[in-house]
Subunit: 420 residues, 2 copies
């Protein structure tokens, strides 16, 4: 198929038809299709790794970043992880058909709010083959049809994985257009998806860096569930246990610096500056972290470079941490209100009143007490797999699993009621 011959609107129409059939399929069949896809991934391991080798060879010629090549690369361990993830998704409790609320108004009607699939979801992502499998599976789990458009560098790998998903659908009698992959690398295809393919796409989810998300938010004419910055804060309260504060801060910053739940700014109460700051700074430095402090921090530890205003609103995604001193819990709340991206914030304290105040007052998708901000992840909060972390406030917020890929309808049963 040449690039120009792809009929994107036809993909939309087929997805819509598949979504209609899927909405009536039972959970067991969808789960079995996922397990069948796992069997195929396992059986086709060599083919998939060969396809990935082609992608890696082509990508290497373009001299990309090592991070990009790392995201693109598959091996036996990573394929095992993909298979494990699909099995987990298949084993997760069913969300479609769940009765969320039952209402019994005075008019005698029986009303249920019941969970149903959203319909057709478009997912636009970078060159990460595992997203092809994960996102396709999670959409199917929630009864949605999906149109996947991965980065061009992962073309052969994604097509190979996509083939396994489609064969899984076919084996269980489900519509094969329920999971479609856009096989053109023409960026115009993305533009067409963002316009909604003649009203067939109900939701777009971008997964990738800021420039991709920004393009999607700018151009999309359909609803978008997206993930912007993760400028996460850890606040060490005056009631914090020293050892816990040190261990959590080290983990929150350094476990993985490139994830959105990594802490970017540390706030510390003045009353524990002399006791808690030095061991924390020592641990961070030994782990290779660069530190930038406000005037009070630098006065205490002159070896720390002074932060500039931009530091307080920067998502480093790197081994860099800005540190500010506050005089009161309220000052920490004010700093967070001003600079946070409303993703994840944590208070470390033994003072339960301070903890409750923080948990209530901070307006972020995830607010934590005495735990690392790196727990900001669908699997870790108990949702099973996640399609991403939403930083908007509407529909779904924070880690989004299968439930976030559903909507609801009102099912009303009467016995002849007319409205007065």
């Amino acid at each position: 198929m040449t690039e120009l011959s792809i009929d994107m609107p036809l993909m939309g129409t087929r997805a819509k038809a598949a979504a209609s059939l899927l909405s009536l399929s039972d959970a067991e069949t969808r789960n079995k299709a996922l397990v069948e896809a796992v069997h195929l991934i396992e059986a086709r391991t060599d083919d998939i790794l060969d396809a990935n080798a082609i992608d890696l060879k082509k990508a290497t010629e373009k001299a990309p970043s090592s991070a990009m090549l790392d995201r693109l690369a598959l091996n036996q361990t990573r394929l095992n992880a993909i298979a494990h993830s699909l099995r987990q998704i298949a084993a997760m409790p069913e969300v479609v058909g769940e009765i969320i609320t039952t209402l019994k108004p005075a008019n005698g009607l029986t009303i249920e709010r019941v969970r149903v699939p959203i319909g057709v979801i478009g997912i636009i992502y970078e060159s990460r083959p595992n997203v092809t499998a994960d996102a396709g599976a999670l959409c199917l789990k929630a009864g949605n049809a999906v149109i996947l458009r991965g980065g061009s560098e992962s073309y052969h790998s994604s097509v190979a994985l996509h083939g396994c998903l489609v064969e899984g659908l076919r084996a269980k009698g489900l519509p094969t257009h329920a999971i479609q992959y856009v096989t053109t690398t023409d960026r115009a295809a993305v533009g067409q998806m963002l316009e909604g393919l003649n009203g067939t796409i109900d939701l777009i989810i971008p997964r990738g860096g800021k420039s991709l998300v920004a393009r999607v938010e700018e151009e999309a004419r359909v609803p978008v569930l997206s993930h912007l910055d993760g400028i996460c804060h850890t606040y060490i309260d005056e009631g914090a246990d020293l050892e816990m504060a040190r261990d959590i801060t080290l983990n929150a910053k350094m476990r993985r610096t490139g994830v959105c739940g990594a802490t970017e700014t540390l706030l510390i109460h003045r009353s524990v500056l002399q006791t808690h700051l030095p061991p924390i700074v020592k641990a961070l430095r030994e782990a290779g972290c660069t530190l930038r402090g406000d005037r009070d921090i630098c006065a205490q530890l002159p070896e720390i470079a002074e932060a500039v205003e931009d530091d307080w609103s920067t998502e480093y995604l790197d081994a860099v941490l800005s540190i500010a001193c506050v005089d009161h819990l309220d000052d920490a709340l004010a700093h967070i209100a001003m600079h946070s991206s409303h993703h994840t914030e944590c208070i470390i304290t033994e003072d339960l009143n301070a903890a409750e105040k923080f948990l209530n007052a901070v307006d972020s998708a995830i607010v934590m007490h005495n735990a690392s901000t790196q727990f900001a992840d669908g699997g870790e909060v108990g949702l099973g797999a996640e399609i991403g972390i939403a930083t908007g406030r509407l529909h779904a917020r924070g880690p989004v699993g299968a439930e976030g890929l559903t909507t609801y309808k009102y099912r009303v049963r009467g016995n002849g009621q007319s409205r007065p």
Copy 2:
């Protein structure tokens, strides 16, 4: 204040600050502020009716439609209804702070998904003074700050009602900027709201006719919760009781023809065409309804005019009904899938299998069995007051009450966990 002197961005900033305070206010205080507003509306009845008289006088000079004047007019009965509505909203159960789910993942964290306000809501509506009170009250109930922008013809009435809400807030120590009214009639103010007032507005809700909603959907740079068409269907199955079919159809079409839940197309199974259609048609005609049928309908009752293709996708909002004959429940489902606006559809039948199939297969916000589509209303489905009926699929769907004006956050409690 002259029109040009309104500082819309300042309104946004003030709303944001008020929202932050409101999110920490307790439900009882917000409810008491609403009851205080009711007292003021009752005490100021004469002033409010005087203000309304000014609006009516000015509006009449512009020779508007009688429907527009009707929406604008207040009297003692309507003020009583407004007061009753506010009391009901105050008495409704609290939604903010509700723990939606508790998760206990293996990492030992305790995780609650807790309901929180959305933040700042902008409501843009036509010249209906009651919306000023209702929408302002419902936003406050759910802990949101709101910026209200009503139609210019209702200026004096809305300002008078808005004053009562603000005095209610002040009396109970709540931020008076929690409910702001845009006192300019300059349409540029609407444009500024649609751009989000420097990121301070989290959600826009348009309430009004199609041209208003279309403008909002086209121009808004922030999420929109809106209501488009209500092309609702009633399907008379072969298993329908004749009397029930007649009574429900008459109510679904003629109780009020201008509401979104009014049935616009009647589908009838061929096997009951001869028995059920004539009495239904008779009842509708006696009530003053104009009928348009497909070929089968017109063959049976030649006095019915033939429908054109557009009839099947028209929201008449008038005493007009299109009628089509179908050979099978599946044909009814196919007609609905093609022409419905996914608002409200009903099946009338004594056959429970047919009813279940219909309730599952129809992809509309409200699907009904043996009841009038005119029950499509937040109060009737048991939500208390409603801010409107959402025809989109994301965030909230169908009638939207206080709960639809909230989002959630994850509250995570640990005891020192770092992520492995």
